[in-house]
């Protein structure tokens, strides 16, 4: 009876410790849990795969250090895919911290893929203009609206942006975010100009993506770290997404185990009480 009570009232600090241990183990041991690719991830992959040459992609985002474990692998997977397809992309950060984080990440991946700033990607820099008017500007005259990159270089001088006149020359926009915001892009980029949209939210915000997915307003979604892992699988490049998703699976197994244990304790102690009375 004492033990049955104990498993229902495990100190939360012990559970936290167990969790850290369980999360850390897969980081030391190299292996890969099976990963199945969901249709929504496949949708984003297929769209990127079919961006016509001569068009660019835009990677927007407002993530920061707080959600690096989810947003960074998502961004890395999308950047790698675009680099490999030789589709130039523009980084459009909606927060200043995102600009630095995405730029650093692009530079790191570019080194591996042999790509160069200005030729293969540009960073438009953090914008403080309202999204609706900015996208209306992109619809009329993209270079005049963006004007310069984050270093102050006029975008006409950047090879990646040559021939890009309006938003109609944009073949894909992906929004990587911990706070949603996809509805604005749907209204002002997809519905207004028909640009295909991909959504890469943190797992907390995933629910927000299913409505537009059902209405074909987005082509697909990378749901949190799992979405990044599935994308890495499609690309055939095991990165942080796949590696960290092992820890995620272990943590979830621990939680399921604790829930089962506590419930078993509860029902067994109830049965024991019933028998004794």
């Amino acid at each position: 009876m004492k033990y049955l009570l104990a498993i229902q009232t495990i100190d939360r600090r012990i559970m936290y410790l167990l969790l850290v241990v369980v999360v850390a183990i897969p980081m030391f041991v190299r292996f890969q849990m099976p990963t199945v690719v969901n249709p929504e991830v496949q949708g984003v992959y297929d769209t990127v795969e079919h961006i016509p040459h001569g068009q660019i992609a835009i990677l927007t985002g407002d993530w920061g250090a707080g959600t690096i474990a989810e947003s960074q692998p998502q961004t890395a997977a999308l950047m790698t895919h675009l680099f490999r397809r030789n589709i130039p992309f523009a980084i459009l950060p909606f927060a200043p911290q995102t600009s630095t984080l995405m730029e650093n990440l692009a530079e790191k991946i570019a080194q591996k893929e042999g790509k160069k700033y200005g030729d293969d990607w540009v960073n438009w820099g953090w914008r403080v203009v309202p999204l609706p008017s900015f996208f209306k500007g992109l619809g009329k005259n993209l270079p005049a609206t963006v004007k310069q990159d984050y270093k102050g270089v006029p975008i006409e001088k950047l090879k990646a942006m040559r021939g890009i006149k309006t938003i109609r020359d944009v073949g894909f926009i992906a929004h990587i975010t911990p706070v949603g915001g996809i509805s604005d892009l749907i209204a002002f980029a997809h519905e207004a100009y028909g640009v295909p949209l991909g959504y890469a939210p943190t797992a907390v915000m995933v629910a927000q993506g299913y409505d537009p997915l059902d209405a074909n307003q987005i082509v697909g979604m990378l749901p949190g770290m799992v979405g990044a892992a599935q994308y890495e699988k499609l690309l055939g490049i095991p990165g942080n997404g796949l590696r960290w998703s092992n820890s995620l699976s272990f943590a979830e197994l621990l939680m399921i185990g604790l829930v089962v244990l506590a419930n078993a304790g509860y029902f067994l102690s109830r049965a024991a009480k019933g028998a004794s009375s």
Binding site: P132, A203, G224
Partner: protein, 237 residues
């Protein structure tokens, strides 16, 4: 001296600072304590300082001061008047001036909301118009339904697809009925029953959504543990 400066500002020093902050914040998991409190205020101070720095370096100087002062776009001076209007909230006598500024901001927001509403919701309404009876694919007269290609109902529909659609429409209507506020459910039994079912449906959905939270929370922890083990302790690669 330069070595010391390098040591204090180099990448390792930044990683050490990050690790100490992470561990200090995690002490809260044991219990609320003075270390957590100190670092909480440290974090707040940093965030406020960072925010202030950004406003000056990324907004005021490049977007306002440089165009106005260096590029001769004198009309940007009016932005100061507009921005200053907000501060009249502190004046008992001229409070109305701040209300004017807030009114303009709200008016602009509402204007954009109209396009946002139509752009976001009308395609969702179209996507909700789902056929409920299985059928083969069929063609319609040329020119018809050209604009509804992504939501085309002309594609074939299987029995399971029709069932899915029926569940979708049922849930949509019952949930919508839950959000009626001007009906007395005691008097309108049918509306009350539908709203109750709608509430149940919402709870099912929320339960399913909760699962993804666990995933997100664990992801945040995994990111920090990786930082501590790989970047700080360098025991995993």
């Amino acid at each position: 001296m330069s070595d010391l400066l390098h040591l204090l500002t180099g990448e390792r020093a930044i990683i050490w600072a990050g690790a100490i902050c992470t561990l200090a914040i995690y002490t809260f998991l044991y219990r609320e304590n003075v270390v957590y409190r100190v670092f909480e205020h440290f974090y707040l101070g940093l965030a406020v300082g960072y925010g202030l720095f950004l406003i000056v370096s990324e907004v005021l100087i490049p977007k306002w001061w440089v165009p106005m002062w260096d590029q001769g776009q004198w009309w940007w001076a009016f932005a100061l008047v507009g921005g200053g209007m907000f501060y009249f909230i502190y004046s008992q006598k001229h409070n109305w001036i701040s209300r004017l500024a807030f009114g303009i901001v709200m008016g602009l927001a509402v204007g954009f909301m109209f396009q946002d509403f139509a752009g976001n919701n009308f395609p969702k309404i179209v996507a909700s118009l789902k056929p409920l009876w299985p059928h083969h694919s069929y063609a319609v007269a040329a020119g018809t339904a050209a604009s509804i290609a992504p939501h085309t109902p002309q594609a074939s529909l299987s029995v399971s697809g029709a069932l899915n659609n029926a569940v979708f429409v049922f849930v949509l209507l019952t949930v919508l009925s839950y959000f009626f506020f001007s009906y007395d459910y005691n008097k309108h039994k049918a509306a009350g029953g539908s709203a109750r079912i709608g509430r149940w449906m919402l709870m099912f959905a929320f339960g399913a959504m909760f699962g993804s939270t666990v995933m997100a929370r664990m992801s945040l922890l995994i990111g920090r543990v990786w930082f501590l083990l790989a970047d700080w302790l360098r025991v995993v690669h």
